[in-house]
Symmetry: C2
């Protein structure tokens, strides 16, 4: 499968709005990858496929997550967390994507986790700041991303946690672990 075929597969499964978002993530991920010396081919592949499972039935995604033995917190902390881990499994099984780096970047693109590698940071951040995104705080993260990817990821994680707290929603524990990990590394 080449990238055009992958895009066609994704386009078929997403709304027009979400497909436009995916194209934005693709361009942003390529750019961020080049900025910090991460493999931009892998970044492009992960970005193209990151929302592959976005509109799958929730029950199907839950079954996949449990069946694969993934962190059950993906299921108990809000349904918007399902598509990233389920998507990683589905692009592997349905599209034959076998690159572990790409699959991991898809898996963690919504929540983040402790010890993110460069590719994981790039896809997480591209998803947050791609040009079609428009929500309070996004411009500050865009500005930070031009200077320091780690600080941009910290700010995005911090904004996400604060947003959930304000809405009295639960916070996925590994998202806090991602924040703490980067904050403590930066302060060392």
């Amino acid at each position: 499968m080449n990238k055009d075929e992958a895009l066609a597969q994704v386009k078929e499964k997403l709304t027009a709005h979400r497909y436009t978002h995916t194209l934005g993530v693709k361009e942003t991920a390529i750019s961020l990858a080049k900025q910090i010396g991460v493999d931009s081919e892998k970044a492009e592949w992960a970005a193209i496929l990151h929302d592959y499972a976005k509109f799958r039935p929730k029950e199907e995604m839950k079954t996949i997550i449990l069946g694969e033995g993934l962190d059950p917190d993906f299921i108990s902390y809000g349904e918007e967390l399902l598509h990233a881990p389920a998507g990683a499994c589905l692009v592997r099984d349905e599209l034959g994507i076998s690159d572990a780096d790409i699959l991991r970047a898809i898996m963690w693109h919504t929540t983040g986790k402790k010890g993110m590698d460069g590719l994981e940071k790039v896809v997480f951040l591209a998803d947050y700041i791609e040009p079609n995104r428009n929500f309070p705080g996004v411009n500050a993260v865009r500005e930070e991303a031009e200077k320091d990817i780690d600080r941009a990821v910290i700010l995005a994680l911090s904004n996400t946690i604060s947003f959930l707290l304000k809405k009295s929603q639960p916070v996925f524990p590994k998202t806090l672990e991602a924040y703490n990990d980067l904050i403590m590394t930066k302060h060392k």
Copy 2:
């Protein structure tokens, strides 16, 4: 040891400012305990002793925490977390306090934790809202405490986490666990 003797012990070890705070926590804890049907004698004891270790040398407190096999996160997430677990050990060893409920309420009064019992909530909250406290958001927590202790604890935890995020400080993982636990229980 009676309560007057305990207060004298505490007064000797605290600044005037911190002793005034302790008296405020004592009155607030008694009142909250009565409000939700928790043993107000235990609440009073825990409140009197909750800051016993506040001005101990940091190194002494770290040694106690490690020696007792307590969560090492108490040491790595900021020095202001040391006095609660170290204090629980010190009032047991130096003052002969053996009541496990009181010791636990002292242990978790700064951070909170998953599965807090009524006494732990009372002391955590009294420490946050006693009348001498004056910081942004404290009045909203006071108002909530009059209606629903759990919601007041959620709000205090949420404020604490938001405050740390804004300051780019690490967040003790069990504080998020306490928040998630209460949010998820409330929403069930």
